[in-house]
C-alpha cells in the first residue's frame, strides 16, 4: 500500500477511536450501561494502538513490544488492587499519565531543536511544565494516601510565597525559551523547577482535601495530554485529553462545592492545621455512650435507619461488617439506606465503591440532598467513621472553619448513633457539637469491631 493510503487508514482508525471514546463516557452515566462503556473504550484503545503500530515511520519494534509488555506487567497488578487502595492507585495513575506526557514533550523538544519554532516552544513549554508538576504532585498525593508520607498538611512560614515563586520561575524560563528556543541549557532547568513546584504544591495539603486534589491532578493530567495533542498535531490526543481534563475539572468543582471552599483555599489554605487549638474546648460537656447491646436494641426497634459512612469506615475495612448489619436489619424489615456525602472518603465516589464491593445494592446508596429530605422521618442515623460531613456547626456556627459546608443533617433524625474510637477531634481538628446532643449516643470502639458486635447482638436476640 502506498504511504499516503496507509496514513489515511491510520487516521480513519483514530477517528473511529475518538467517537468510541465519547460513547464510552456517555455510557458510563448509569450503572446499567456502564460496562458497555468500558468495552467500547477498550476497543477504541486497541484500535488506536494497533493502527499506530502499523505506521510505516516506525523503524524498530523490539523495544516497543518489550516496553508494552513491561507496561502491562505494571498495569495488571495496579488494576487488581483492593477497593480501599483505589485512591492511591488513582493518584499513581495520574502520575504515570503525566510522566508519559512530559517525557514525550521533552523528547519532542530535543528531536526538534534547533528547529523548534517559537510558537511550538510555547506549546511544548506549557505542556512540559504541567506534565512535570502533575507527575511529582501526584506522586506526593499517592504517598500521602498510602501513608508513606504524613497525611496532615505540612506547612511552614512563607510557604505560599516560596511555592508561587517557584512556579513563577518555571514560567519565566518557559518565556526565555520562547524567545530563544535553541537555548538547550534552560530547558532541563525548567523541567526540574516544574517538578519541584509539584512537590511544593501538594505537600502542604491534608488528607481530608484529597478528593479535590485528586480531581484537580486528574484535570491537569488530562490537559497535559491535550496540549501534547497540540504539540504533535494529533486530534485523538486533543479529544482524549479534553475529555479527561474536563472530567477532572467538573469533579474538582463538585468537591469544592461540597466543602464550600474555593480552589485557591484548597490549594493554598492548608486546611485542618491552623484552627486545631483555636477554640478553647469547653470542658466537662457530657456525652452519652451506649453498648453494642443497647445499640442493637435501638436499631432493631427502628423502622427507618440511615447509615452515614466516612473515611473511618475505609480505614477500619469495616464495609463487609456493615453489609452484615445491613442484612440483619433488612431481614427484620428495617428500611436501611446509606447517606453518601460527596467528599466522604479520599476521592470522589470512594464510599460508593467500597459499599458496592461489600455487595450493598446501589439503589440503597443515596446522594446527600435526597438523604437530607428523608432524614427528618428517619428513626436512627448511624454514623460510621464520618465526622465533619455530619457537623451541624457547618449550618449554624459562623465561627466554625467549616461554616457553610453542606452536610448530612443527621441531627434531624430521632436518634443519632456515632461509632468513634474516642472523643479526640477528627482529622480536621474541629469539634463536633453533634456528639453532645441529648439524642446522640456515642458508640466507642473500632468501627469494624463495634459493627460486628451489633450484628452478633441482633443475631442473638433473634433466637429468643
Amino acid at each position: 500500500m502506498n504511504p499516503i493510503a496507509t496514513q489515511q487508514l491510520i487516521d480513519s482508525a483514530y477517528i473511529v477511536a475518538t467517537v468510541f471514546f465519547i460513547l464510552s463516557i456517555k455510557w458510563l452515566s448509569s450503572p446499567a450501561s456502564a460496562r458497555r462503556g468500558v468495552l467500547v473504550g477498550e476497543i477504541a484503545a486497541a484500535l488506536a494502538v494497533g493502527a499506530t503500530l502499523a505506521n510505516p515511520e516506525l523503524t524498530q519494534y523490539k523495544w516497543i513490544v518489550i516496553t508494552l509488555i513491561i507496561g502491562a506487567a505494571i498495569g495488571i497488578p495496579l488494576g487488581m488492587v483492593q477497593m480501599t487502595a483505589v485512591p492511591q492507585r488513582t493518584a499513581l495513575s495520574h502520575a504515570f499519565g503525566a510522566l508519559s506526557a512530559s517525557m514525550i514533550g521533552i523528547a519532542e523538544y530535543y528531536v526538534g531543536v534547533p528547529h523548534v519554532t517559537r510558537f511550538g516552544m510555547g506549546e511544548i513549554g506549557l505542556e512540559v511544565i504541567i506534565g512535570s508538576l502533575t507527575f511529582t504532585g501526584s506522586v506526593i498525593a499517592a504517598g500521602k494516601l498510602q501513608e508513606i508520607l504524613p497525611q496532615r498538611p505540612i506547612v511552614y512560614k512563607g510557604q505560599n510565597i516560596v511555592s508561587l515563586s517557584v512556579l513563577g520561575a518555571a514560567l519565566l524560563l518557559a518565556i526565555a525559551l520562547v524567545i530563544n528556543p535553541a537555548n538547550t541549557v534552560l530547558f532541563p532547568i525548567m523541567v526540574v523547577v516544574s517538578l519541584l513546584f509539584g512537590i511544593l504544591l501538594v505537600t502542604p495539603i491534608g488528607g481530608a482535601d484529597m478528593p479535590t486534589v485528586i480531581s484537580l491532578l486528574n484535570s491537569y493530567a488530562g490537559f497535559s495530554a491535550a496540549l501534547l495533542g497540540f504539540v504533535l498535531n494529533s486530534k485523538v490526543l486533543v479529544v482524549a485529553g479534553a475529555l479527561d481534563g474536563s472530567s477532572g475539572f467538573i469533579l474538582s468543582v463538585i468537591m469544592c462545592k461540597a466543602m464550600n471552599r474555593s480552589f485557591t483555599n484548597v490549594m493554598f489554605g492548608a486546611f485542618g492545621q491552623v484552627q486545631t487549638a483555636a477554640k478553647g474546648t469547653e470542658e466537662a460537656r457530657t456525652v452519652r455512650s451506649a453498648s453494642a447491646e443497647e445499640a442493637a436494641g435501638i436499631l432493631a426497634a427502628a423502622s427507618k435507619v440511615a447509615i452515614v459512612p466516612g473515611y473511618g469506615m475505609a480505614v477500619a475495612q469495616a464495609q463487609h461488617k456493615v453489609r452484615e448489619l445491613y442484612d440483619a436489619l433488612t431481614k427484620r424489615g428495617v428500611d436501611v439506606r446509606f447517606g453518601i456525602h460527596p467528599v466522604a472518603g479520599r476521592m470522589p465516589g470512594h464510599m460508593n465503591v467500597l459499599l458496592a464491593e461489600a455487595d450493598i445494592p446501589y439503589d440503597r446508596l443515596i446522594e446527600m440532598d435526597d438523604m437530607n429530605s428523608d432524614l427528618p422521618q428517619t428513626d436512627v442515623a448511624l454514623i460510621i467513621g464520618a465526622n465533619d460531613v455530619t457537623n451541624p456547626a457547618a449550618r449554624s456556627d459562623t465561627s466554625s472553619p467549616i461554616y457553610g459546608m453542606p452536610i448530612l443533617d443527621v441531627d434531624k433524625a430521632r436518634t443519632v448513633m456515632v461509632i468513634k474510637r474516642s472523643m479526640n477531634p477528627g482529622f480536621a481538628g474541629i469539634d463536633n457539637p453533634l456528639y453532645y446532643f441529648d439524642k446522640t449516643l456515642m458508640l466507642f470502639g473500632d468501627a469494624k469491631g463495634f459493627v460486628g458486635d451489633i450484628v452478633r447482638e441482633l443475631a442473638g436476640s433473634n433466637s429468643h
Partner: protein, 99 residues
Amino acid sequence: MPSDFLSNLYVFILAGFVGFELIKRVSPLLHTPLMSLTNALDAIVVIAAIIIAGQHETKLSTILGLIAIAASFSNMVGGFLITDRMLRMFKTGKQPKKS
C-alpha cells in the same frame, strides 16, 4: 500562528463541551469509575510514545519514548481492568445475583 493550532483548538473546544455535557450526567455513584475510565482513555498518549520511540531519531528521544510507553500502557491496561472490576460490583437489590 500555525493553522494546525487553530484546527486543534477548534477540536479541543468542541471536545471540552461534549465532555462537560456528558460528565455532568454521570451519577455521583460512579465518580470513582469515571476517574479510572477517563484515566485509561487518557493513556492514549501511548500512541505518541510509540511513534517517538519507533522513529528512533536520537538515543535520548527513544529512551524517553520507551519510558512513556511503559507508563501510559500500564495506565491503559490497569485503568480498564479496575474500572470493569468496580462496575461489576454495582448491583441492584432486585435482580438475582450473578457474577
